[in-house]
């Protein structure tokens, strides 16, 4: 955990707009001065966004280009050198199967890398102040950071929820803060440098499909290359000569088949027991501490566990990257650096991250409902 200087939120400093002089509204506009800014442009985590917020990755893309390159090169060599020979000597199904697998692998890889893994947006200042207030109920004036843990009972088991000092909230169960991306991610599995993104609740199924289909693809290519070599060697000139013709493919496939197969096997075990890599590595449910702990999230049935991980309805992205920033909202920067929204005459709820503008008139009669709720919400539901 990062040891950051904890900054207590001063509730008095929070905006409660009353009579403020009409000032120019802080326009959250883009560079051209006209287009309103979108939320991804001011996102506090270490992520990169493309296509106007539709695609996101970790800032450190890791070895993602290498992964992509290896897959493309190996498959390319396979289609160029092995397929013609095998189609002639065996069957034309081979490039078809190879093609389907290749497309599958590529699509799932891109989806794993470009999807929001389940990032939790950081708590608004009011929320954070409320949490602090609840904890510090004794009215103790001395400054101290909130306690690090809170206990909840899940399926008759005591689970400790940790307080995240960066996101200023108690992390939900199974959520972990990724230090590389500087975000709390729900059902955090691991940060995968090969795909250049975290693997969490929303993209775990893509990741799992990716590694399973990649194992099929590498095994398939390995098999085809071996068959090709065997046929050539039988054909006359000997094995060594045949080997010289396709060393690259063979090498890549040989080394990757075992590691990818192993990884797929491991993740199949995780899916069947409804565990995350994070929990497995930490040994959260293996009873290392001596107590009898079992995984409280497991449904005790392999089929139901698999379904609950892979077939549960796709949860929405919580960070709403393509939503527009309200015109009077400043950028929400890092968790430590709290910017206070400018009070303005129009906005009543200056909530960082919120988007409700409300004009409520309590004095008017109830017949005046047309005025009373004038909410502007972000354009569309988060993708």
């Amino acid at each position: 955990m990062k040891s950051r200087e904890y900054q207590q939120i001063d509730p008095k400093a929070l905006p409660t707009p009353t009579q403020s002089p009409p000032s120019h509204q802080h326009q959250a506009v883009g560079d051209d001065g006209r287009t309103p800014r979108r939320k991804w442009e001011v996102f506090p985590g270490k992520n990169r966004f493309f296509c106007d917020g539709r695609i996101m990755m970790a800032r450190q893309s890791g070895v993602f280009p290498l992964t992509l390159g290896l897959i493309l090169v190996t498959s390319g060599l396979f289609f160029i050198f092995d397929c013609p020979f095998l189609v002639k000597h065996l069957t034309s199904c081979i490039p078809a199967i190879g093609g389907v697998l290749f497309v599958f692998v590529l699509i799932t890889l891109l989806q794993t890398s470009f999807t929001d893994p389940g990032i939790l947006p950081r708590a608004t200042p009011e929320e954070a102040a409320d949490i602090e207030r609840q904890i510090d109920d004794t009215g103790n004036a001395s400054y101290r950071p909130p306690p690090r843990t809170k206990e909840v009972l899940i399926n008759q088991q005591v689970i400790k929820l940790k307080y995240c000092f960066t996101c200023k909230m108690f992390r939900p169960p199974r959520t972990s803060h990724c230090s590389l991306c500087d975000n709390c991610v729900e059902r955090f599995d691991h940060h995968c440098p090969w795909v250049g993104n975290c693997v969490g609740k929303r993209n775990y199924r893509f990741f799992y499909t990716f590694i399973v289909s990649l194992s099929f693809l590498t095994a398939f290519i390995f098999g085809c290359v071996t068959t090709h070599l065997a046929l050539r060697a039988k054909g006359g000139k000997g094995l060594m000569f045949a080997l010289q013709e396709s060393p690259v493919e063979l090498a890549i496939c040989f080394f990757s088949v075992w590691s990818i197969l192993g990884l797929s096997g491991f993740h199949t075990y995780l899916v069947a027991s409804n565990l995350t890599t994070n929990e497995d590595i930490k040994g959260s449910w293996s009873g290392k501490s001596g107590e009898a702990v079992t995984n409280p999230y497991s449904h005790k049935n392999i089929f139901i566990n698999c379904c609950s991980v892979l077939c549960v309805p796709m949860p929405p992205s919580l960070i709403d990257r393509r939503g527009f920033l309200p015109a009077d909202e400043p950028a929400q920067t890092s968790g430590v650096d709290l910017e206070l929204p400018n009070p303005s005459t129009k906005s009543d709820i200056n909530v960082v991250g919120g988007s409700s503008h409300l004009v409520l008139d309590l004095q008017k009669s109830s017949a005046d409902f047309s005025l009373f709720l004038n909410q502007t919400k972000p354009a569309a539901l988060p993708a």
Partner: protein, 144 residues
Amino acid sequence: MAETHSLQDLQQPAVSSKVFVQRDYSSGTICKFQTKFPSELESRMDKQQFEETMQSLNNLYAEAEKLGGKSYLEGCLACLTAYTIFLCMETHYEKVLKKIAKYIKDQNEKIYAPRGLLLTDPIERGLRVVEITIFEDRSIGSGR
């Protein structure tokens, strides 16, 4: 004088405070909010109404995350198409989220706004809390 005063009020209804209803994790990681009635709202509305709202919200979220025949089918179909159907189709969860947004708007119009309260859709707070904004009660002769 009173005219001016009310005009000002029209433009600046003051936010008195905010109440945050936290998540209830007793059933695991599913989206569920606590139904305990916050003490700050005691003077504004009755407990039963509030609990009814929260229970309905919880039921709606449970519907969104439900594991059933339909979700298995959707999951399998999605897997077969390498999850590309998510790009073209609205997912079950998104459909229910729209229902929830409508429900909250409804509740605000009928119950909360007349009492000077406003429910914020939890999706705007990352499904962490249900934020209830309490406005200063400006009604004349409210006797509070």
